[in-house]
């Protein structure tokens, strides 16, 4: 279709307007017109004629005729070499007439001529104004969208984008250029690098430290040398200090020694005084003094003895009988023994004989020789052993018994104590519950209760008596009194009757007064009076009867009885109130109180009885306990005694065994058996024969003794008694006299002996004194001294000499302790010179030096130790190795991270390139043509127009000649309009080719916002289009654009609402 001309019947400012012939050309048609000339009206007329007028409700302007004419018009076009006339009126919006050479054509023909394009698409793409050019939405609607946005892959693009973002996110987490390592979300590799820097820094420091080891070793050597030097000097200083110290401490000793030596030399020669001279002298002196004292003492004793001797009798006549008497006494003793033995021998002979017989049978021929040899001993020992063994056994048994008794008694005593305590506790409980009374007290309290009970009873009786007396008195008074109260003789019932009568009378009066019935009134009054009279009569009779029973003596009697009863009552009350106060109860005592009192007494009685019983039991237990304790103590004493006895017996037994050379562990029975066997055996051998003989001999000796006794008494001129006993008594007295004289004689003998001893001692003392004196004299002569004074003088000097020598030796020893065997010559020289050097100052200086050196040495040693520790630490330190390993680990991690990142980055790059490729290969041809045109229009500033893969909307993206892709909102208005124009041109070309149609391109001043250069480029593009057969109708108000038109363009001008050629 190519437009040729039009006839606007009426539309807007146009009325009957037509293009001048030859009308529109095939190519570029240029219509100029100033503002308000009708360019937009013309554009709308063309669009409305081709596709129909809008309705009244449409937003599109209908372009009503302003200057007359029918609203509508005709359009002449050519298609397929034929000319068509298309008529359309606004009244019939959709209706039209299409004629070709007089033939009426249908809608199908018109649609075919229009390439089946719709009005909207035509408005968007083929016939548009400047405002419509700027409307992007028009490109994204309808069929336009299908062509322009063919490259998008819709929802699948989201997947790609998501993948891209995911990879990018992962890559960024590993490495991102320019990221700060200290940021919280810093990429891993950046953080690792930062960490590696730190570790490498530490490693460098550690290596640097380890490299200092040789230097430190050298330093250590220097320190050691320094310490050795200081030690050498210290040794010298210490030696000097010690030397000075010795001199200082030894000097006083040396001085004392020298003084002592000088003093000793001044004493002269004392060698003649022997070392033991003083001792010898002292011994002699002591001996002499002792001898003298002894002599004096003996002399006194001799005098005393002499005096005592003088007091003794001169003779002792009975002493001549002394020997005889002694013999008699011995004989008597022998006699007693002999008699006893004889008796025993006789009694034991038979037993012994029997015993020996038995034992001999038992022992047979194996009789021990030792036993025979020890017979005498054994004979005695057997009894002794038996006795002792028995004692031990008895004592042991006694101990057991006493112990058992003691234990039993102690247990009983403790049990009794426990019982006592229990009873005491019970007793305490009872006494806490209330007071405890003796049985007498209880009886007394019970008697008191009885008395009170009786008193109460009596009180009631007395009160009843009193009541009765008073009643009697009242009655007597009633009948004897002249003036008695009315009630005493007018009982109540009578008064009531009187009142009733009075009322009846009053009623009768009233009846009579009001009724006038006199008879009724009179009768009533009479009846009342009768009743009153009867009452008075009856009462008077009763009173008269009572009066007859009373008389005045009775009244007095009644009064007396009443007073007596009252007194009795008062006395009783007074008496018992006092007692009640004493007894602690109230008066009068009620029966309840008495009952409670009785209960209380019963309880007290029970409690007292219980307490009494308990007390008795307690006392009994206590007595028994005391008894048991006494028994226990006795038993304990007995036990102790038994133990002591046992101990003694045991000791004796042990001693016995020891004496008998028997083991102490031997049992008494065994020992006794042994002895018994020996005794019995021997006795069987010997005693049996001897005993009888001995007894006979003893009897004979006794007889001779008696005779001798009698003779002796006669010799003593003592009359012999008849009987043996008297003779014995006389002999006893004689013996006493002999004893007395013997005593005196012995005293005399003792004194004589003492006198002799004293004499001898006196002589010895004199001799001793003389010898001592001789020794002393010899000593003084030996020493060459004249007398004792000279001796003492020499002795003192000698002592002094020795003391000084001792002092010198002591000092020498002390000095040797300080200085050793060889004394320093410095001492002697200093002493001789008399000027002592200032050793203290010198020592102080050395000590200061020592301190300084010690401090220096300590410091050096401390440094040396620190160095050694440091060196040792570094030699054994794995710090470098650890840091190196750590650094290598970090490097490995970084390397891994970078490898990961490279993989991701490669994938991302590949994805990006694939995306570009895909986009490039999948854009619509229309957009490709638009891109080409846009590149021409913009002079190459923009490379390409494309739709991104993921685009779901009309997201056109512009790729500039350089730099990233841009969205539409990044473009200027003019560029944006150029872009939209190019898209439309591209689409028009693509559409026409696709549909095989030719359609006119109508534009209403679309280049107003283009810069001149791009306007020129745009016109070049349009010229190119027109050259390719595209009919273009370009409406504008800019006449200068004529210069840009191709030469074959047809130019028209709108003037005064008419079209004319220019």
């Amino acid at each position: 279709m190519k437009l040729r001309n039009w006839h606007i019947d009426g539309s807007g400012v146009f009325s009957g307007a037509t293009l001048p012939e030859p009308g529109l050309g095939d190519g570029f048609n240029f219509l100029m017109g100033s503002n308000e000339a009708g360019k937009s009206t013309l554009l709308d007329f063309l669009r409305y004629t081709l596709f129909g007028y809008p309705s009244g409700h449409s937003r599109l302007p209908r372009r009503e005729p302003l200057r007359g004419g029918n609203h509508g018009g005709m359009l002449i076009y050519e298609a397929d070499g034929l000319t068509y006339h298309l008529y359309r009126e606004a009244v019939n919006r959709r209706a039209f007439q299409l004629r070709q050479n007089g033939t009426q054509l249908t809608d199908t023909d018109l649609a075919q001529h229009l390439g089946h394009i719709g009005p909207e698409l035509f408005r968007n793409i083929l016939g548009f104004s400047l405002a419509e050019l700027q409307d992007l939405r028009s490109l994204a609607e309808g069929d336009v969208r299908g062509l322009i946005f063919a490259a998008s892959i819709g929802q699948s693009a989201g997947r790609i984008r998501s993948l891209e973002e995911s990879l990018s996110r992962q890559a960024d987490a590993i490495f991102r250029e320019g990221a700060r390592p200290t940021a919280q979300n810093a990429p891993r590799v950046i953080k690792l690098c930062y960490e590696l820097d730190r570790v490498e820094q530490e490693l460098a420091q550690a290596i640097q430290a380890s490299l200092t080891v040789p230097e430190k070793l050298r330093e250590l050597g220097a320190k050691k040398a320094t310490v050795e030097t200081i030690d050498g000097r210290l040794e010298e200083v210490v030696y000097e200090i010690q030397r000075l110290d010795r001199l200082i401490s030894g000097w006083p000793l040396w001085v004392e020694r020298c003084h002592a030596e000088e003093e000793r030399n001044e004493l002269g020669d004392v060698s003649r005084f022997p070392a033991d001279g003083d001792t010898i002298w002292a011994i002699c002196k002591t001996e002499f003094d002792k001898a003298r004292e002894l002599g004096q003492a003996r002399y006194g004793e001799l005098s005393a003895i002499k005096e005592k001797l003088n007091q003794l009798p001169a003779e002792f006549p009975l002493l001549s009988l002394t020997g005889h008497a002694s013999e008699l006494a011995a004989t008597r003793s022998d006699y007693d023994v002999a008699m006893t033995l004889a008796v025993n021998a006789r009694s034991g002979a038979a037993d012994a004989q029997q015993s020996w017989k038995e034992i001999s049978e038992e022992l047979g021929a194996g009789w021990p020789e030792d036993a025979v040899r020890d017979f005498d001993i054994s004979l005695l020992a057997e009894d002794e052993a038996r006795r002792l063994a028995k004692e031990v056994r008895d004592a042991d048994l006694a101990i057991s018994n006493k112990r058992a008794v003691s234990v039993t008694l102690a247990r009983e005593a403790r049990r009794l104590s426990k019982d006592c305590a229990s009873k005491a506790k019970q007793l305490e409980t009872i006494t806490q519950a209330g007071p405890v009374f003796e049985p007498g007290e209880i009886a007394q309290r019970r008697a008191s209760l009885g008395e009170f009970r009786e008193a109460s009873r009596i009180r009631e009786v007395l009160r009843n008596d009193l009541g009765r007396a008073q009643d009697h008195l009242t009655q007597v008074n009633l009948f004897t009194s002249k003036r008695e109260p009315v009630e005493s003789y007018l009982p109540s019932w009578l008064l009531g009757a009187l009142v009733a009568g009075a009322i009846g009378l009053a009623g009768a009066t009233l009846v009579f007064f009001y009724t006038g019935q006199q008879l009724a009134g009179v009768m009533s009054a009479a009846f009342a009076l009768v009743l009153v009279g009867l009452a008075v009569l009856v009462r008077s009779r009763e009173i008269q009867g009572q009066r007859r029973q009373s008389s005045p003596p009775e009244l007095k009697d009644a009064q007396d009885r009443c007073a007596a009863a009252l007194k009795e009552v008062e006395d009783h009350e007074r008496q018992w109130r006092v007692r009640a106060t004493d007894a602690g109860v109230s008066w009068p005592v009620s029966e309840n109180e008495l009952t409670a009192w009785e209960s209380r007494i019963a309880a007290e009685e029970r409690r007292s009885a219980d307490a009494k019983d308990l007390l008795n039991i307690y006392h009994e237990l206590r007595d028994r306990r005391h008894a048991k304790y006494n028994e226990f103590h006795i038993a304990k004493d007995e036990f102790d005694e038994a133990r002591r006895v046992y101990s003694n017996a045991r000791e004796e037994w042990i001693d016995f065994l020891r004496v008998r050379r028997l083991p102490q562990t031997i049992q008494s029975e065994t020992a006794i058996a042994l002895f018994s066997k020996v005794k019995e055996a021997r006795r069987s051998l010997k005693d049996f024969d001897d005993n009888s003989t001995v007894a006979k001999e003893r009897e004979e000796e006794a007889q001779s003794y008696i005779q001798e006794l009698a003779r002796c008494l006669e010799q003593a001129n003592i009359s012999v008694a008849d009987s043996y006993s008297k003779a014995l008594a006389q002999f006893q007295r004689l013996g006493e006299q002999i004893d007395e004289q013997g005593k005196q004689f012995r005293e005399e003998q003792r004194l004589v002996g003492e006198r002799q001893v004293a004499k001898n001692t006196l002589r010895a003392a004199i001799s001793t004194a003389k010898a001592a004196r001789r020794k002393m004299r010899a000593l003084t002569e030996q020493m060459g001294v004249l007398d004792e004074r000279d001796f003492f003088d020499l002795r003192d000097r000698a002592k002094k000499y020795w003391e000084l020598t001792h002092t010198v030796n002591q000092k020498d020893t002390a000095l040797a302790t300080i200085f050793g065997k060889t004394l320093p010559s410095e001492l002697r020289e200093t002493w001789d010179s008399g000027a002592r050097p200032d050793w203290e100052t010198a020592k102080f200086q050395r000590e200061n030096e020592h301190r300084t050196l010690t401090t220096e040495r300590d410091d050096t040693l401390r440094d040396k130790t620190a160095l050694e520790i440091e060196i040792d630490s570094q030699l054994n330190s794995d710090e470098v190795a650890r840091l190196q390993l750590e650094a290598e680990e970090l490097r490995a991690e970084i390397r891994k991270g970078i490898e990961e990142w490279l993989e991701l980055a490669t994938a991302l790059e590949l994805l990006e390139r694939t995306r570009e490729k895909f986009e490039r290969e999948n854009q619509s041809p229309a957009l490709d043509e638009a891109s080409r045109l846009f590149r021409v229009v913009t002079g190459g500033s923009y490379e390409r127009i494309f739709i991104p893969l993921e685009s779901t909307e009309a997201e056109l993206t512009i790729l500039p000649g350089s730099g990233p892709a841009l969205s539409l909102n990044c473009l200027s208005r003019g560029t944006l309009e150029q872009l939209f124009l190019c898209i439309r041109l591209g689409y028009v070309q693509h559409y026409q080719k696709q549909q095989n149609v030719e359609l006119p391109l109508l534009m209403d001043d679309v280049t107003v916002n283009f810069d001149p250069e791009r306007v020129a480029k745009t016109f070049e593009v349009l010229a190119e289009c027109s050259r390719q057969g595209q009919q273009i109708l370009f409406l504008t108000c800019h006449e200068h654009l004529i210069d840009l038109l191709p030469s074959d363009s047809r130019i028209f001008r709108i003037r005064n609402f008419e079209f004319e050629s220019a």
Binding site: A206, N876, A881, Q884, E888, E903, A907
Partner: protein
């Protein structure tokens, strides 16, 4: 000739850290830290146990003076122990401990009498190895003057034999320009053969290599303790028993404390993450059984087309894969350093390329990139650009090689295809 035995070791690098091992726990860190020293202790123990006559240490006793004095103290203590057992020790300086830097903390007088240090760098020094007054062998040695020794030191060794003794050359050098090591003291096998030496005790190359098995015998014993993942396998010293000049027996003594292992695990048959973890645990257990009682430090590379690819990727991305594996391992015996997921998903690239759509564009682009080394290299350069803005990461980036660039692209494509497939699911 009297038979004798000696131990030849080199490249002790005492007290140097492990490289390429990520952060480990504290207990293992101490073990790793002391591993080189413990390996040295093992060497001394082995010398005493085998009753060798002397020990040869062919340079690089430790990494350098900056490595701290602990290594030196430990080394001297080891020498003293050898001395107490009557074992001589001959050692030289290598590029890591050249004479010019030498011993820093320890003085020559600290060394025991039986230790012989060839501290001359201008001429070869000759010291006999003696047992009970009898010369067993003659040891020739020379040390590096500086870290970058450029002289051919082998030519300083004697050319003519003047006695019937067994001569040993102790030298730190790079024979034939071995790749992967600095070409210090360069020499050729011919140079060595031209000298009157029966046994070349070499050092410098960390891989055990017998360059010539006889006449003369030329041997690199390898380093004593591996320190990186490119030093996998047993490490230690060589016990040499010399019966005659022509009868020399050698035995490798593994003395390392920590052993590195890179395990390539094909998880094609594993359909789930659990199955992959089980396969990994099995592989590690097998490797561990071979190295016990040493500590195994391992790195896994999971490869193959597996249905668990997505789960592996996800677990790897979320940092859960390695901890999950570590949980299944005895932590005092093995340390899993890294698990590299190099698996591919079940995606038919050809089909994807034909299918159209975004995935097809990706496949086509990858194919285009891989078709041109320049394109793939350009892509890698562009990717690396942010890392190359300074010099901070230079040490962490490997050289850009076309193969590596193509692999990176392929890996990225695999990852993207897997992720996109997962997204569709």
């Amino acid at each position: 000739m009297t038979s004798f035995r000696f131990i030849h070791a080199a490249d002790l690098h005492l007290d140097t850290p492990f490289t390429g091992v990520g952060k480990v726990n504290a207990a293992l860190q101490q073990k790793l830290q002391d591993a080189s020293l413990a390996a040295f202790d093992n060497l001394i123990g082995a010398a005493v146990r085998h009753g060798v006559d002397f020990v040869l240490l062919a340079g690089d006793i430790y990494d350098g003076a900056e490595r701290g004095v602990r290594a030196q103290a430990r080394f001297v203590e080891g020498l003293r122990q050898l001395n107490r057992n009557g074992i001589q020790c001959f050692f030289i300086h290598g590029n890591h401990d050249p004479v010019s830097e030498g011993w820093s903390a320890l003085r020559p007088e600290d060394l025991p009498a039986s230790a012989v240090l060839f501290d001359q760098s201008d001429a070869v020094r000759v010291v006999p190895a003696v047992r009970d007054g009898e010369i067993l062998a003659v040891v020739h040695g020379i040390s590096f003057r500086s870290r970058t020794e450029a002289r051919n030191l082998s030519l300083l060794f004697p050319e003519n034999r003047c006695d019937g003794q067994f001569h040993i050359g102790l030298l730190h050098c790079n024979v034939g320009g071995q790749a992967g090591h600095d070409n210090y003291a360069p020499c050729t096998l011919e140079d060595l053969c031209s000298r009157a030496i029966d046994y070349w005790a070499l050092g410098h190359i960390h891989e055990r290599m017998v360059l010539r098995s006889a006449d003369p015998l030329v041997l690199y014993p390898g380093n004593l303790q591996a320190r990186r993942f490119d030093e996998c396998g047993p490490k230690g010293a060589t016990l040499v028993h010399v019966n005659d000049r022509s009868r020399v027996e050698m035995e490798m003594l593994p003395l390392d404390e920590v052993r590195f292992a890179q395990l390539n695990i094909d998880v094609s048959g594993c359909k789930s993450l659990d199955a992959v973890l089980a396969a990994c645990a099995t592989s590690i257990a097998q490797a561990l059984a071979q190295v016990r009682p040493r500590l195994l430090v391992t790195r896994l590379r999971l490869r193959g087309q597996t249905a668990a690819h997505h789960d592996l990727l996800k677990a790897d991305v979320q940092g859960q894969l390695v901890p999950a594996l570590r949980d299944q391992l005895p932590e005092d015996a093995v340390w899993l350093d890294q698990a590299i997921v190099a698996t591919v998903p079940f995606v038919d690239r050809v089909e994807v390329g034909r299918s159209g759509g975004f995935e097809a564009a990706l496949v086509q682009l990858t194919d285009a990139l891989n078709a041109s080394d320049n394109d793939s290299l350009d892509l890698q350069k562009k990717v690396r650009a942010p890392l190359l803005s300074g010099t901070r990461f230079d040490d962490f980036l490997s050289d850009l090689q076309p193969i590596a660039a193509r692999e990176a692209v392929a890996q990225a494509e695999s990852r993207l295809l897997g992720l996109m497939e997962e997204g569709e699911e």
